[in-house]
Each structure stands twice: as C-alpha cells, then as structure tokens.
C-alpha cells in the first residue's frame, strides 16, 4: 500500500516539475500503447453534454433582462489617461497593510503583502512588502555609486551605466523577512494570511552576477567574507561568507521588468536567493571584502534566534521550506458544500519545491497537490488540489517537501524544539479550521487555529 502511494507521488512530481517534459512523457506513453489508450477505450461514448450540465438540473433560470450600463453605452477613457497604469478602482482593497502596534514609527517598520489576493507566483511591484530600518531614500541614479574594496587586488567604483554594461541575468526569487510568521509564535493572533505570511513577495529580478563584480576587483585569498552596505539612513550591513556570495547572488537594478521601486532599494539592491531578506542590502553602495564577519547589529541583536534554554542561534542565512493555503483562507467564506480548488504557495530557501501535500483532517492523512505554476529554484510555487467538501468541520493544512528532502514540520514539534521566544524563522505549518456549513452562527467561516 505504502509503496503504491509513493510510486504515484513520484510520477506526479515528475510530471508537474517540468511542463515541457510532461508533454513529452504523455506523447511517448501514447505511442507505447500504455495506460493512456486503455483509459480512452473505457470511455468510448466520449463527451456527453447532457451529463456535463447535470449539476445545474432543477435550478431556477434567471428571467430578468440584462441591462447595459455605462460601460456599454458610453465611451471609456482614452489612451495615456494614466501614463503609468493603475489598478481598477474596484481593486482598492488590495493593498499592503501594516499593524501600527508593531513599531513606534513608520520609518523602521514593515508592511505585509496581500498574499490572499495575489495570483500565480509574481508579486506586482506596488504590492511588494516593505521593511525599512531608516525610511526610504529617493536616490538619483546618476549620483549613485557602488564600490568594492577591502581585501581585493584593485578597489573599484562603478556607476549605474558601468553595472548595466555587465552581462545580465533575470531570475524569479521569493524574498522573505525571517520574521514572517513571527506573530504566531505565542499562539494565533489574527485571521488573515496577510498577517501570518505577508512579510514576503516574489518578483523577477534583473541584474549583474555578484561573482562577476567580485572577480573584477580580484578577491585576495584572505578575503573570506563580504560586507555589503546600503546608502540609506540605516546604512544596513550584513556579513556573507564568500561561498554564498559566489553561489547565486546578484546585484539587481530591475524588478518585474522595470527599475526597482524605491521601497525595494532603488537604484540597486543585493539579491541573496533563498536567504533572509535583511541580507538583500538595499540602496547598495559599498561591498567590503573582509577576513572575518562584522557582527553588525542586524546579525547579533536582531535576526538571531533565542532558544528556550537561553542560548541563541546566529547567522541563520537560509529560509526554511514553507507553504500556506491562500484559498480558502480566513479572508474567505465557504459557499456551501461541494468542490473547491484549494490553492496556495510553497517555497524553499534551499532550492525547488518537490511536493506539497494537503490534509483536511488536521494532519492525519495527506493527498498530494499538483503545481499550477513553473517550479523554480528558490521561488514561490503555486499548488492546487481538488477538494470535495462535504460541509463538515475540516482542518486544512499544507505541507511542503523540498528537493533537499526537508519536510515541513507541524507547529508543536517546532515549538518543543525552539520554544516561542525565537521571533524569527517560524516556518511550521498553519491550520485553517473550516467551520461546519450547518453551524448556525459561523457556518462556512475559515479560521486560523493553532495546535
């Protein structure tokens, strides 16, 4: 029994991991005269239109005449009314939000992306989450410079034009504050995926490989760390081991096809795929190559994890694999028993997502979801799973397994090992309680609960 399931799981994954390859596999199966043919033979009658519409049987028909409104009867607005296009006014509720009580002012604060209102795997630039330590500067790119110095053969200074002359790369990556999910360490706080998982976004970055820039300056053998620094009021710095810098980091000047937004580091930021967002230094102006780490405030006082025995973990670079169901989630109400396409996001700082499984009974039994987006390295991956809801109380959970073999743990297990004073890296599963449809007061509500 167990073997069979695993076989099916492996097959599904292969199929969903690579869209191009799936088409190929299907084709070859048909040629080989295998499973595909026999299935076709069984349903020889083909598509039956009467059967297809059966669920509508007995429903009253609408008889009112459809009235044409102004959209049909008058001309709409002309070109270039908005030289830079804006979302429809009907989408005005879709916005990043903050909790005022989190920080004493807005210059060292955070907003969360409306994860439950996003589709696919790309976050629009205007909805990208924000995290500042000294407010947002407005920097003229003509005046901006990047220097690489320290333990290098030849300190160099680059203009924006210089940087854009280098070979470019474009990559889709998620960027996540390690405090994402922090509100949930001590228990459940609020009913929205925007608050539980909104301190992250996923965009396409374009820029220059950091390894190209560092090689250009010629790192000396003693240079084991790089210390990037921002040009803003916080002068944010972190220490990155040179292996990490040479692996897949780059200096980005564009996000989603246009220049970076100021909130995300205009004119340039560091991209450290899979790692804590605070390492992705914004307004990047200086990279010092050094022999030891710096022990900056953001890698000692903050962004370190206090354990239950009073010891603390430092240099927690990678973001653990994580997943969340965005639909249904607490911002939605169920519309009655029936079919639902459970959707959500999965991501891993250590590579690609391999499997996402869904449970409706609080984690006892799991079914594998399939992917509706490309499966990319260190990027959001969109999953979906067909669920026949019978209207009874359900406990929805998603669990990711990444390509390194890491399986997302349940919350009690993480709490028992890491305590609840940690603040950062709360990456265990969350649970959405779907209230029974029959429940008089709350039928169909989706509630954030915690084990």
């Amino acid at each position: 029994m167990a073997d069979k399931i695993e076989e099916k799981v492996a097959l599904q994954t292969e199929n969903s991991r690579n869209q191009g390859r799936r088409a190929f596999l299907k084709g070859s199966a048909a040629v080989a005269g295998g499973v595909v043919f026999s299935q076709v033979a069984q349903s020889s009658s083909g598509f039956d239109a009467k059967k297809a519409v059966a669920p509508y049987a007995g429903q009253p028909e609408l008889t009112e005449v459809l009235q044409d409104g102004p959209a049909r009867k008058t001309l709409g607005f002309g070109v270039r009314k908005y030289p830079y296009g804006m979302p429809s006014p009907f989408e005005k509720e879709v916005q990043r939000r903050t909790l005022e009580w989190l920080t004493p002012d807005s210059m060292a604060s955070i907003t969360m992306s409306p994860i439950h209102q996003l589709h696919g795997i790309i976050t629009p630039n205007g909805l990208h989450f924000e995290r500042f330590h000294g407010g947002v500067p407005t920097i003229n790119p003509d005046d901006h410079r990047l220097v690489i110095h320290g333990l290098v053969e030849r300190p160099l200074i680059f203009t924006m034009d210089d940087l854009k002359r280098f070979p470019s790369i474009s990559r889709i990556h998620f960027v996540e504050c390690p405090a994402n999910g922090a509100l949930e360490w001590k228990g459940v706080q609020l009913n929205s995926v925007q608050w539980t998982h909104g301190m992250m976004s996923c965009v396409e970055y374009t820029g220059v490989r950091l390894s190209d820039l560092l090689k250009e300056a010629g790192i000396k053998p003693e240079g084991k760390w790089i210390i990037p620094e921002g040009a803003d009021a916080s002068g944010l710095s972190r220490s990155l081991p040179v292996e990490l810098a040479m692996d897949d980091c780059f200096v980005a000047y564009a996000q989603n096809g246009e220049a970076l937004r100021r909130e995300q580091g205009y004119p340039i930021r560091l991209v450290v795929p899979g790692c804590e967002a605070n390492m992705w230094i914004k307004y990047l102006r200086r990279i010092m190559v050094h022999d030891v780490p710096m022990q900056e405030r953001e890698e000692t006082s903050k962004y370190t994890e206090l354990m239950p025995d009073g010891t603390a973990q430092r240099f927690s670079w990678y973001m653990e694999a994580n997943s969340v169901i965005t639909y249904p989630s607490p911002d939605f109400k169920m519309q009655g028993p029936g079919k639902y396409y459970v959707r959500g996001l999965a991501w891993s700082g250590r590579g690609k997502v391999a499997h996402v499984d869904i449970s409706t009974d609080g984690g006892r039994n799991w079914k594998e979801a399939h992917f509706t987006s490309p499966v990319l390295d260190k990027a959001w991956t969109r999953f979906e799973w067909e669920w026949e809801w019978d209207g009874s109380e359900a406990f929805l959970m998603s669990r990711v397994t990444d390509e390194t073999g890491y399986v997302q743990p349940p919350m009690p297990q993480m709490r028992n090992l890491e305590g609840t004073n940690n603040v950062y890296h709360r990456t265990a599963m969350v649970t959405w309680r779907v209230h029974a449809w029959e429940d008089e007061k709350s039928g169909g509500l989706v509630e954030n609960v915690q084990y």
């Binding site: 903050t98 909790l99 009580w101 002012d105 807005s106 060292a108 604060s109 907003t111 000294g134 220097v147 110095h149 160099l156 200074i157 680059f158 210089d162 940087l163 459940v188 706080q189 090689k215 010629g218 084991k224 916080s234 292996e243 990490l244 897949d248 200086r286 030891v292 780490p293 022990q295 006082s301 239950p308 025995d309 009073g310 973990q313 430092r314 927690s316 670079w317 653990e320 911002d331 984690g363 006892r364 594998e368 406990f395 990444d402 390509e403 390194t404 073999g405 890491y406 399986v407 009690p412 993480m414 709490r415 090992l417 305590g419 609840t420 004073n421 649970t431 509630e447 915690q450 084990y451």
Partner: protein, 357 residues
C-alpha cells in the same frame, strides 16, 4: 582561521564497506555504501552519498547514513554539530582575539554540496576569467569617508587618542538619545530600551518573550559603537556634531548602564574613565551573554513524508492526535471571532496607505 580546504579527502572512500545499504529516499533504488568514517563518526564519502540521493542532503535517511543512525537530531544533536569535521557543522575556528570566544565565524556546512560546487565553478575554479574593465579604480584612502565598518575584532575603531569620559558621554546621550531610549536606557515612547535585566529563559511557552538588549543579549560590545555611529540618533544618523569621540563616550555610557565589567575582577566603568577604543576592546571580552551563541544548525527537525494514518505527534491537537484541540485568536468585544478586513484590529482604513509613506 577559516580554511576552505576540505581536510578529509585523504580518507580512502573505497577502504571499508560495512555491507549495510541505506535506502536514500522515496522509492529510490539508489543506495550507497557508507565507507570509512571521519574520526569514526562521519561518513567520509558524504558527497557521494548525497549525490546518489539526488542531492537530498536534508533527507532523514541521508543524514543518518552520513552521521550514523545514532545521530540525534534537535537540540541534543548540537554538540556533534560543533565539530568542524562534521559535514553538517556550521562552526569554524574562533581564532581571533576579539572576545573570550573570538569573533565567531559560521560557515555553510560542507554537506550543502551544491553551494560549494556552485561557488567553485563561479569563482575558485574559474581560471578563464578576464576582467572586463568596466569599473574605475579607486584608492582605499579615497574610500575612508565611506568606510565606517568596525568588525567583531575591533578593526576599524578610532585611534585610542579619540574619546571622552563616560560622564561626558552620558551628557551627550541625554541630549540626543534619551527622548527615545530613556535616560538610563529604560526605553521611552515604545522605542527600544538599551539596558534591561530580563532573564532570557521563560518558564512557559505562553509567557511574553523576554526583552533582549545590550547587557543581557548582545555578544559584542564593538557592535554598539559601530551601530550608533552608523544609525543614531535615528533622525540624523552619523552626526558630525557628535563625532567619533562623542559616539565612543555614549558607547561607554550605555555599557556602564548595562554594568558590563572590563576585567576578571568585575571592575566597572567609573564616570571619569576616559572611554576610548582600548577600553571598548577590553569590555568586548566581558559581554555577559557572549558564550551562549551557536551557529545555525537548522534544520533540527527531520521528518519523513508521511501520507496516511500519520502518528499522533504529527497530527493536530499538540500530541493528542485530536484535531479539535486547538487554540484560537482573540475575539471581538462581543465575543464573536474576528474575521475579514473590516474586523481586523488596528489596521489602516481601506484606501489609505501606510502612514508616512
């Protein structure tokens, strides 16, 4: 010092076959014999084992094959992970003279072979690289105005002739900092305190998390000087009217408020101590919490991907296996659960962006 050369390649991989095969992962028919162990503890052929498991270096069976089935995970497994020979260790030598534990360095564990291979290909082994010449050379001296980095060993600190007495530093602090951080570092208006006496261990998971600050948490004193010169006072960072001497004096005042000693006898700063980089480096060795840090050794949880009838500890109900045993969020004043946009607490009105944006 951090040495990138792997010291264990000399161990012969084919030397010893235990005869036992380890199944690597879901339904994989690939198995790898564990060869000789480093120090009798860790499989020397860990790279081979990981590659044969399709790179699943965090898979429970792979970790067990490399570290041994007796390898404990979670916090108890930390001890073994502090051994630099352990492929999963994030720790390297603390050989710098900054504090009593040195300027602790962490590294990317050797078991994360992909990162190391990528770095090798992009950098160490790239002998064909020819500079493009797109940048402009600049002298280190010209960069001095920008270089404000002080590292954990104190490199980058001002000359010992620069400084002021702790009392003078305190006067500056009261003038420029106390409105937000309190006269004695107790915090004000919701801004962070800079001196607290809280215990870092709480008795229950539901207790409020302890406040972490300079005296009870920070591992390095030099960080304080670097940070306040870099970013404070919040509205006018790196202020010339405070200057290096002023930032050093305020550092002294904050360290004094945290009762940090500067020698084995526990001598504390007095008001007329001339606080300079030398005094700061002495105190850098006596930060009370310095010994309580370890490098990232996550993941500490290695679960198997269970699909059916999973064990109770994996199921809702916090170990009971009963999914209806859960905790809920706070409720609205009338006792009903708060849901959806208009009911969320303390949020911006729809249509209004972030205050101050």
């Amino acid at each position: 010092m951090y040495n990138t050369k792997q010291t264990i390649v000399a161990v012969s991989i084919a030397a010893l076959f235990t005869g036992s095969a380890f199944a690597m992962s879901n339904n994989s028919d690939k198995t790898v014999e564990v060869s000789e162990k480093i120090d009798g503890k860790y499989a020397a052929n860990y790279v081979e084992i990981i590659k044969n498991a399709d790179g699943k270096y965090l898979d429970k069976t792979v970790i067990e094959a490399i570290l041994g089935v007796e390898a404990t995970h979670g916090r108890a497994g930390l001890e073994g992970k502090l051994d630099p020979e352990n492929p999963y260790s994030a720790e390297v030598d603390d050989s710098i003279d900054g504090g009593n534990h040195g300027n602790a360095q962490c590294k990317i564990p050797k078991a994360f072979v992909e990162v190391h291979e990528s770095a090798a290909a992009n950098y160490y082994n790239d002998d064909t690289f020819v500079a493009r010449g797109f940048g402009t050379p600049i002298s280190e001296a010209a960069l001095e105005v920008w270089n404000i980095t002080v590292d954990g060993d104190g490199k980058g600190l001002p000359d010992p002739s620069v400084g002021m007495t702790v009392e003078e530093g305190g006067e500056l602090y009261v003038k420029f900092c106390s409105m937000c951080h309190g006269e004695f570092g107790e915090g004000a208006k919701g801004y962070l305190p800079l001196a607290v006496e809280e215990d870092l261990v709480t008795s229950s998971f539901t207790d409020p998390a302890p406040m972490k600050s300079v005296g009870n948490y920070w591992p390095y004193a030099v960080t304080l000087f670097d940070y306040i010169r870099r970013t404070m006072p919040f509205w006018t960072p790196n202020a010339p009217y405070i200057g290096d001497a002023g930032y050093l004096g305020m550092t002294g005042y904050i360290l004094q408020s945290n009762y940090i000693p500067m020698d084995d006898e526990g001598t504390e700063l007095s008001d007329d101590t001339f606080f300079n980089s030398e005094v700061l480096m002495k105190m850098n060795k006596y930060m009370p919490n310095q010994g309580n840090w370890f490098c990232d050794h996550r993941p500490v949880i290695h679960n198997v991907r269970c699909m059916n009838n999973c064990p109770d500890e994996q199921v809702g109900g916090n170990g009971t296996g009963d999914p209806t045993q859960y905790r809920q969020a706070r409720t609205l004043p009338d006792g009903t659960l708060q849901y959806n946009v208009p009911q969320r607490l303390h949020e911006d009105k729809p249509g209004v962006g972030h205050a101050g944006m």
